[in-house]
């Protein structure tokens, strides 16, 4: 099904759901300011459903908006791509949302386009897929009430760790240099954290002035403390949506660190893809007595 047909169906389903009273709101995307932008929209009236769009830039993961509706009893329909659906499971597993209060319309996703590159191109120009989408293994929603189209074939079967391996090849000093440069750029806007479905704390330690963890001193060391802490916090919980990198105004390759942890977890504790199901516990939430032993 082409994009336009999907979009037509999206609008139609949104209308039906709102008109039937099955849900009171629908979360989707509408056209953004520029052609390479889409932006989330919350629809309450069926007549607004025609604002919904489905195009190459519906990057935003809508699952996390559900946190804003935690304390309402309204039923919400939302559109989820493959990666978004893993985010949904992440939030379910972290007990932050309720499945019963949502109606998931899954969209098997062919991948989004590189929105950064788009800014220097013209509408209609050929664009590569966004970096994260190029190595997508789960384009089909893993949890849904209905699918909008037939499932698509995953672009990749195994995780592509070549970027992580490239860093691993470097010497320790080179690696340090690499991350210093990247983290010097960080402006600590916390967009990566705020967009991340695994970052769903009520109050992040970096927002607790007196916790002792937080320093508003923005320098490479503190930025790196922030980056590493966040990486550890989402270790085994990252659902690889790449939203952190997508929203970073400083173009920091945040997923690289996340993928490093995914790679190590796979290696040390067995293959694990977060958010595929809500069963079981994340790798750091349990252990095996015969876990590998790299210490003495």
């Amino acid at each position: 099904m082409n994009q336009e047909a999907i979009q037509t169906k999206m609008r139609q389903r949104a209308k039906e759901l709102l008109n039937s009273g099955a849900v009171t709101m629908v979360l989707g995307w509408e056209a953004g300011t520029f052609w390479y932008q889409s932006t989330p929209i919350l629809i309450r009236q069926a007549e607004d459903a025609d604002k919904l769009v489905w195009n190459d830039f519906c990057q935003n993961n809508l699952s996390k908006y559900l946190l804003d509706f935690r304390f309402t009893n309204e039923k919400i329909a939302l559109f989820l791509k493959g990666c978004d659906s893993r985010a949904f499971n992440r939030l379910l597993q972290d007990k932050q949302i309720e499945r019963e209060k949502t109606y998931i319309i899954g969209i098997p996703c062919e991948g989004m386009k590189d929105h950064r590159l788009a800014q220097s191109k013209n509408e209609g120009d050929d664009l590569p897929l966004a970096k994260i989408c190029q190595s997508c293994r789960y384009p089909n929603p893993v949890i849904y009430d209905e699918l909008l189209t037939e499932e698509v074939t995953p672009r990749q079967k195994i995780v592509d760790f070549s970027d992580v391996e490239a860093i691993e090849q470097m010497s320790a000093d080179e690696r340090y240099e690499f991350w210093q440069k990247e983290h010097t750029k960080c402006i600590r806007c916390y967009a990566c954290r705020n967009v991340c479905p695994a970052c769903n704390c009520r109050k992040c330690i970096f927002d607790q002035a007196t916790s002792g963890w937080n320093s508003k001193d923005v320098n490479a060391s503190e930025n790196q403390f922030y980056a590493m802490t966040r990486a550890i916090h989402i270790a085994g919980r990252c659902i690889e949506c790449g939203q952190c990198e997508y929203v970073c105004p400083a173009n920091i390759p945040i997923m690289l660190m996340n993928k490093k942890l995914i790679k190590d977890i796979d290696l040390l504790f067995g293959d694990y893809d977060a958010g595929l199901s809500i069963e079981g516990q994340p790798p750091l939430g349990h252990f095996e007595k015969d876990d590998p032993e790299e210490f003495m």
């Binding site: 691993e168 340090y176 490093k260 190590d264 007595k289 210490f295």
Partner: protein, 164 residues
């Protein structure tokens, strides 16, 4: 240990590293006490911070120590299966398997961070481990990475005299 002996000889720069040891109360701390009771000498570079269990050690503590300029960190607890709290060190193992690799990934020299299982009976092992780690860190010199230095030029003079 012998691997490092030569390096140490060449690194006679007077550098004395400071090394933080997170020790679990039941095994490693007791092991360190046993080293003392047995008068097993080791370099005075290590400082033990007592925690109830190695699973109390948050990887963020380790990163913070490096930020503050520590030259090396050792996290030590009971051997797997011997945890006073049954399962604590199994979590320690998972957490720090990842943390060590992450520290490595951001370029911290692998000599600077260690995890060891040292039981309450292993006074000699405590001695050996901290001796080895001290020697290795001496050889690679002071830690400059991740440090968040406090600008020395801004330090104010000590008042002295009229405190208290």
């Amino acid at each position: 240990m012998s691997d490092h002996t030569e390096q140490i000889k060449t690194a006679e720069n007077g550098f004395e590293p400071k090394i933080l040891v997170f020790a679990c109360n039941w095994c490693t701390y007791a092991g360190a006490d046993l080293a003392g009771l047995s008068r097993l000498e080791y370099p005075p570079n290590v400082r033990v911070l007592r925690v109830p269990c190695s699973c109390r050690v948050n990887p963020q503590f380790v990163i913070r120590a490096f930020q503050r300029g520590i030259d090396g960190v050792l996290v030590a607890g009971c051997h797997p299966g011997d945890c006073h709290y049954t399962t604590g060190n199994y979590y320690t193992r998972r957490r720090f398997l990842l943390t060590k690799r992450l520290l490595d990934f951001v370029g911290i020299d692998s000599e600077r961070f260690h995890v060891r299982w040292i039981s309450g009976a292993e006074g000699p092992k405590f001695q050996e481990v901290v001796t080895d780690i001290t020697a290795a860190i001496k050889a690679i010199g002071p830690n400059q990475k991740l440090c968040d230095y406090f600008p020395t030029e801004t330090l104010l003079p000590n008042e002295g005299g009229d405190n208290q």
